[in-house]
Symmetry: C2
Subunit: 331 residues, 2 copies
Amino acid sequence: MPSIKDVARAAGVSTATVSRVLAGSDHVKEETRQRVLSTIELLNYRPNLVARSLRSQKSARIGLVVSDIRNPFFTAISRAVEDAAYEQGYSVLLCNTDEDPAKEELYLNVLHDESVAGIIFSPTQQFSARLSTFKSDIPFVIIDRAVNAAQADMVLLDNVAAGYELTTHLIQNGYTRLAGLFGNASTTGKERNKGFRKALEDYQLKPLAEQFIPPRIQQGYETTLMLLDQPNRPDAIFTSNSLLTAGAFQAIRYRNLKVPDDVALVGFDETTWGALVDPPITLIAQPTEEIGRTATELLFQRIEDPGRSPRTVILKGKLIARGSSAPRVNK
Amino acid sequence: MPSIKDVARAAGVSTATVSRVLAGSDHVKEETRQRVLSTIELLNYRPNLVARSLRSQKSARIGLVVSDIRNPFFTAISRAVEDAAYEQGYSVLLCNTDEDPAKEELYLNVLHDESVAGIIFSPTQQFSARLSTFKSDIPFVIIDRAVNAAQADMVLLDNVAAGYELTTHLIQNGYTRLAGLFGNASTTGKERNKGFRKALEDYQLKPLAEQFIPPRIQQGYETTLMLLDQPNRPDAIFTSNSLLTAGAFQAIRYRNLKVPDDVALVGFDETTWGALVDPPITLIAQPTEEIGRTATELLFQRIEDPGRSPRTVILKGKLIARGSSAPRVNK
DNA sequence: TTGTAAGCGTTATCAC
DNA sequence: GTGATAACGCTTACAA
């Protein structure tokens, strides 16, 4: 593997000149530039990024810390971030915390030690609480989950509005005995719950149940079974993320109940299966491409200008009404 | 951020000694070691990984290059690899090539430039052809897809056997007019096709159709529509990966046909939705955890001993028979 | 416009 | 056992 020295020697210039050519500096004679360029080509030279990082104390890598890579929402986000970063010549280190604050801390350290230029992440609730004490020298952008400390760039969904819209949709379609399953790992579940409540209040209804549980298929399954087995069974179930939706759907199926006649089901996030099951699932689709892209852009801007005042971008979800919440037929 | 020099100064030793303590060398007096250790603790020192990489010409990072992060198979693999790598103190750089040889080449370069210690990847077919010319100085392990060059460690599924088993299952359940959708991006589709053919031959049947198409939901959808609209409609559709399965399922639904009465459907890989749809999908589940873990272990072994002779690990898939291929009722 | 040389934070090779 | 010190490959003042 040739180094910058080899190129310099072969081109009959100093390493500084090669470096200048690499950096696209104007202060190089065109003739010299060409000679260096063709030598680079000839030797098939590629700069050593590690050495460059060490010297310049930064790198063309960003970190993406997600809480669950099995959640299709985060898969979609990572695609978007990767594409956006790639366009800027950056590569992405993807880390998965499993909603575990210990892993979260670990990976933030790893990323720091790898001297990434910045981090995009969705913190656990425990972490959010400590965020104010987390004096990081690394620029970062929060996605998906609000944190208290206003001193951070964020890209969020308007979760309250989304929860409200989804709930209103159910109510307007004739459902009145609503139960909600909300993820307990982040603020997202809380906010969607707030919208859920607000809608019920506005229609002078009371929630039949509000369960805050770990955002996992298994938990959604078990909790839904429990809800379905109660004497006063809900006629609609609201779930605050797609893993809970999947679990709820399984449970409804397991109890041989029909969607939406026996119980309607709505949730969040477009998934492969949401449109495949019968009936397809009504949901709020998040603009994942836009979220990932915006977060990446915000991060680059902050890297560029660490002093700028933090901004929060709030995006709107889109209601996709499908069979799982079809207007209730009177019986 | 304190450096090794700061630690050395504070502990009253040289940087060499600190480095020795860090490396766990025996040749340090216990007393000195303790002093250094507590100084490290005190200053909250953490070694600069970039500098370490530069000096030692290697890093505690491995690359994972997958062809489609939206494919649940690869999501599962990346979880397994990450966990296994993490246990060894390695972090994982995840790259997504989108089955694009250009991106593939780019990411291999990126990983090389980041001086990863090794790479696990699933090459495109185009790449496999060039693999023999790809004299890499980086240890690597191939997963999921066989390559011609025997000079590589590989972790593969016994795809021919899996295809055979899945097809036999259909035939034994009374299906005779079989069509197959196979991914054209890798050897995997080809091998599963081989098993498909073999089974048909053994039962003296002829395939109704064999389509080699890009492994995408949309392609699976379109091709299935086409198959369903033919005069001699298949009574069972074999798909060689879960994206094609999803597309086929959509198409069958769109044509208002019933699974499995009108047409049975089988595929590969456990997904969230496979068990959620009605009827649930019969499939060959791959041992993703084991594949990822084995690949990681092989990689570490090769990093350890670059000269060892390459080995190929072939794992068996597991048939999960469900409603989508229930025994055919005579009409 | 170009070259010289210092230095980024480590590890490793010598000495002592 | 421990300490100087030279590298690793690059960028960037500062000189020329």
